[in-house]
Point group: C2
Chain length 213, copies 2
Amino acid sequence: MSNIAYFPAMPPREDNRPGKRERTKTANRQAILDAARQVFGELGYDGATVRDIIRLTGLASGTFYNYYKSKEEVFDALADDGARRFRPLLRVEFEKATDFASFLRGAMRAYFDFLAAEHETWRVNRPAGEAHPTVRSTPEVTAVFAEVREAFERVLEREHAPPVDLDYLTAACIAVAREVGDKMLERRPMDTEGATAFAVGLILGGLPALPRP
Amino acid sequence: MSNIAYFPAMPPREDNRPGKRERTKTANRQAILDAARQVFGELGYDGATVRDIIRLTGLASGTFYNYYKSKEEVFDALADDGARRFRPLLRVEFEKATDFASFLRGAMRAYFDFLAAEHETWRVNRPAGEAHPTVRSTPEVTAVFAEVREAFERVLEREHAPPVDLDYLTAACIAVAREVGDKMLERRPMDTEGATAFAVGLILGGLPALPRP
DNA sequence: GGCGTCGATGACGCGCCGTCAGGATTTGAG
DNA sequence: CTCAAATCCTGACGGCGCGTCATCGACGCC
């Protein structure tokens, strides 16, 4: 029943793990994020309630608010988490790329693969008619957008491409990635290859036809 | 102060206007929509409350629920309204169009002009950080999407263009229109012409480069 | 073992939600 | 004009989720 007999009092830690305070803190934070992911998955963003998340963690309601101020803040934390995991993948593609075409292809493929993988985790059971939780503009997400823009800028400049409206181009590429990615997720079998070919073809073909500012 | 003296009792209606019941009904419905537009504009979708809308109409809370079941339903009604007004414009462009290029150009221009015009009505004062109310998939909005798809299909077929993945193409075009439109709204002066040139250039240029299924 | 601090707890007050019984107004028939 | 039926407006009400805060238990440190 108890190992107190064998380890009288609390055995001293010899490793340098952080103290219990610190550990329960990260555990709680993680528990909340996990619960939130599940609740948002099952109930959708609008349908979800802070109380639903709290219930699933088993914590007291007050504890939740020690970590996040609101439902939005947890959701943003989840989005941030996704962006934070995607960012390095994007960076790798930038390093690998030799020109705009190869960067775009690599980035698109990376995004669609990422999306397909996340998809398993996320869409537990979306209620009918409810839109996806909109990706909000969290710091990390904004950073990814900015990074795409900067990568575009550098790579286009590097190959002495004629100037384009970078803001529009970035917006358009992200938009295409998002929507085509979305449609891709609905198809069986899921074809990241096909989606990549489509998106890359469209943008690469369109690039020379863009108006020059 | 009163014309009762001149029209003793209530003067009989000779026209065929609908009865008073019917009139207050449409008036109430309109009042709710107007109030909702303003409240969503000022507080954002998340921040808005059914009570806020009700307050602004001066009606009793119960009355609201005679017309709409929830905040979402009013919002959807507003979206539907927009879609319903945009649909004929789209149709006109379809009629006018001689080929895919001219249809796309016409439709894009129509959309950006529409957006710029609506913008005045909508964005009264968006709270910082809040995303646009996501355009949800109301029946009318869905119908517009379907209409775009069908127009694409017909016009491409008419000119014996090689086959493409229509779903992806439609999704991509709408995505580009949305995002570029969004960026356009943030610029001063607002340049619907430039936005149109960009979006049309991208898609028209990309079209021949698309993978053939 | 004793003490100061940190954070977990959950009851509480608040405001919004959606409902419903009652009442006011309109309608149509006589 | 009168009256009853139909309509639908009204606002008070129970319920619930929200965010707070006084309290207390557990951890870290000596």
